[in-house]
């Protein structure tokens, strides 16, 4: 009996949390027009979220692409369709691995950085000080970070996919002997703009989700050292769950 009550309580808490996050998002959106007047702040955050994540994204893209090349080749070999490796790798990367893996890595690297930055600013009263100086911290500090993440994500996912395709090509063509011409021509014939669109839409939605969760956790973190730590952990976990869940929804929607 108590288990049911606890379950019910945690459900209502989750519901309240979800509502809180959505309200926060609306607040961010409302503050965005004025925040966009400070392009220098936003571009600095694009640098923090995007350019600083480049190394890990490119490395991961390369390795994932190479594994895809290996596995794809092995699988297609059973059907005698090795030339379709280009298609398989591209579709796998652009539609799924690119957006999802990039989002997970983003949550781990940039998401935690955002959350801990904001959490620390909360803990050291910097946000309160700004409010006291009649500067809206949402507009000055939170929205630029949010927008930085939203803009950086699709770009990172695209870079991941492209490097991944080259990684697959490296393994498939150079190492496993798939014909380079077939690799690219079959890909071109089979991959459509719709597939690319699906990937772009996914990475945009993931960008919004991860950035939102990160800035939310940071902004509302308990102002203690362990509070900030908890906020960063929750960022990664919540982001991961939502990424995978939304991935299914969007994939189904595009079918």
């Amino acid at each position: 009996m108590r288990l049911i009550r606890e379950l019910g309580e945690s459900m209502t808490e989750s519901l309240a949390g979800l509502g809180s996050v959505v309200r926060f998002l609306l607040r961010l959106v409302a503050a965005s027009p004025r925040a966009m007047l400070r392009l220098d702040l936003i571009s600095q955050q694009i640098y923090n979220a995007g350019a600083l994540s480049l190394v890990i994204i490119m490395l991961s893209g390369l390795f994932v692409g190479m594994v895809l090349g290996l596995q794809g080749f092995q699988l297609l070999q059973r059907f005698g369709s090795e030339e379709a490796l280009g298609t398989a790798a591209t579709i796998g990367l652009v539609k799924e691995l690119g957006p999802v893996v990039t989002a997970l890595l983003f949550a781990g690297r940039a998401g935690t950085a955002l959350a801990s930055e904001l959490g620390l600013m909360r803990a050291t009263d910097q946000l309160s000080a700004m409010e006291m100086m009649a500067v809206d911290p949402i507009r000055r500090v939170v929205v630029p970070r949010f927008l930085g993440g939203v803009i950086a994500m699709p770009l990172l996912a695209a870079i991941f996919s492209v490097i991944g395709i080259y990684g697959a090509q490296l393994v498939g063509v150079q190492i496993m002997g798939v014909d380079a011409g077939s690799f690219w021509s079959q890909m071109r014939a089979a991959v459509g703009l719709r597939d690319i669109n699906e990937g772009i839409v996914k990475s945009c939605i993931f960008g919004v989700t991860c950035s939102l969760i990160a800035v939310y956790e940071g902004y509302y973190a308990t102002p203690t050292a362990e509070g900030v730590g908890r906020a960063t952990t929750r960022t990664v976990v919540t982001s991961a769950v939502f990424i995978l869940f939304l991935d299914y929804l969007i994939t189904a929607a595009f079918l």
Partner: protein
């Protein structure tokens, strides 16, 4: 300008304070009586459940955010740990309110910032980052930032915590000089009885959600109240008990032996 505070939250019940303009007012009390909450009420970061909070003749209750922001520009606040923005230099920190609220040319901003830094004695540290400052120095920078917009009211939240005697003396002197030179109202929340008594004009003592004493530092020394005596004298036991509520001492000891 004065304040009339009459809050009614679990923190305060029937609080009635009148802070005089142009003077240094000290707010003291045992830990946990809600001194910081009082500051939050004054700055509008927290809303009173009942009663009124009036600052400079304006009622804070029911004020919309925009109006609150306008009012806050006339106030300056010094946080307990300085609360400098860590990614900006000392100069940029002090310049922050100017950049956000005014359209002043760079030349003018520079002059203003350097003047304020000079007033707190840190003009030479303008290019340092907050991480490179000592506690006392960062608090002085925060003070420069608080006065850069020439506020009418200055609020200090526990400005002496963790400072060595020299820095403490510096801050004390600055509080007094700024108050007199700029003709502003200063509110200092502290529990450093000795220190604050040297500069305060009026002292409020809070306890149990109410004002228990009001007067000049001298008056408070001989105030006919138990709690005032305990606080001023730094006595270990009195109206604020030494022992946390616990069952009978011998009873507890013996019970353990039995088990």
């Amino acid at each position: 300008m004065g304040y009339a505070v009459n809050g009614n939250r679990p923190v305060f019940t029937g609080l009635d304070m009148d802070i005089p303009r142009g003077r240094i007012t000290a707010v003291m009390g045992p830990s946990g009586t809600g001194k910081t909450t009082l500051l939050r009420l004054i700055t509008g970061q927290v809303r009173a459940d009942s009663g009124s909070v009036m600052v400079a003749g304006e009622e804070l209750r029911g004020m919309r955010r925009a109006a609150l922001y306008v009012l806050r520009r006339r106030m300056g606040m010094l946080f307990q740990n300085g609360a400098l923005l860590t990614d900006l230099s000392v100069f940029e920190n002090v310049a922050f309110p100017l950049r956000e609220h005014t359209d002043l040319p760079e030349r003018l901003i520079r002059q203003l910032v350097l003047t304020k830094l000079q007033a707190v004695g840190l003009r030479g540290a303008a290019e340092l980052m907050p991480a490179e400052l000592s506690g006392g120095m960062s608090r002085r920078v925060a003070l420069a930032r608080a006065i850069v917009m020439d506020p009418e009211i200055l609020i200090y939240d526990e400005p002496f915590v963790g400072l060595d005697p020299i820095s403490l003396g510096v801050i004390l002197r600055l509080i007094r000089r700024l108050n007199d030179a700029l003709g502003i109202t200063s509110i200092v929340v502290s529990h450093d009885v000795q220190e604050i008594s040297t500069v305060a004009d009026v002292v409020f003592l809070l306890s149990g959600g109410k004002v228990v004493a009001r007067g000049t530092p001298q008056e408070l020394q001989s105030f006919p109240s138990e709690i005032v005596r305990q606080f001023i004298g730094g006595l270990a036991d009195g109206p604020v008990p030494f022992h946390f509520p616990a069952p009978d001492y011998f009873g507890e000891l013996l019970a353990r032996e039995d088990a």
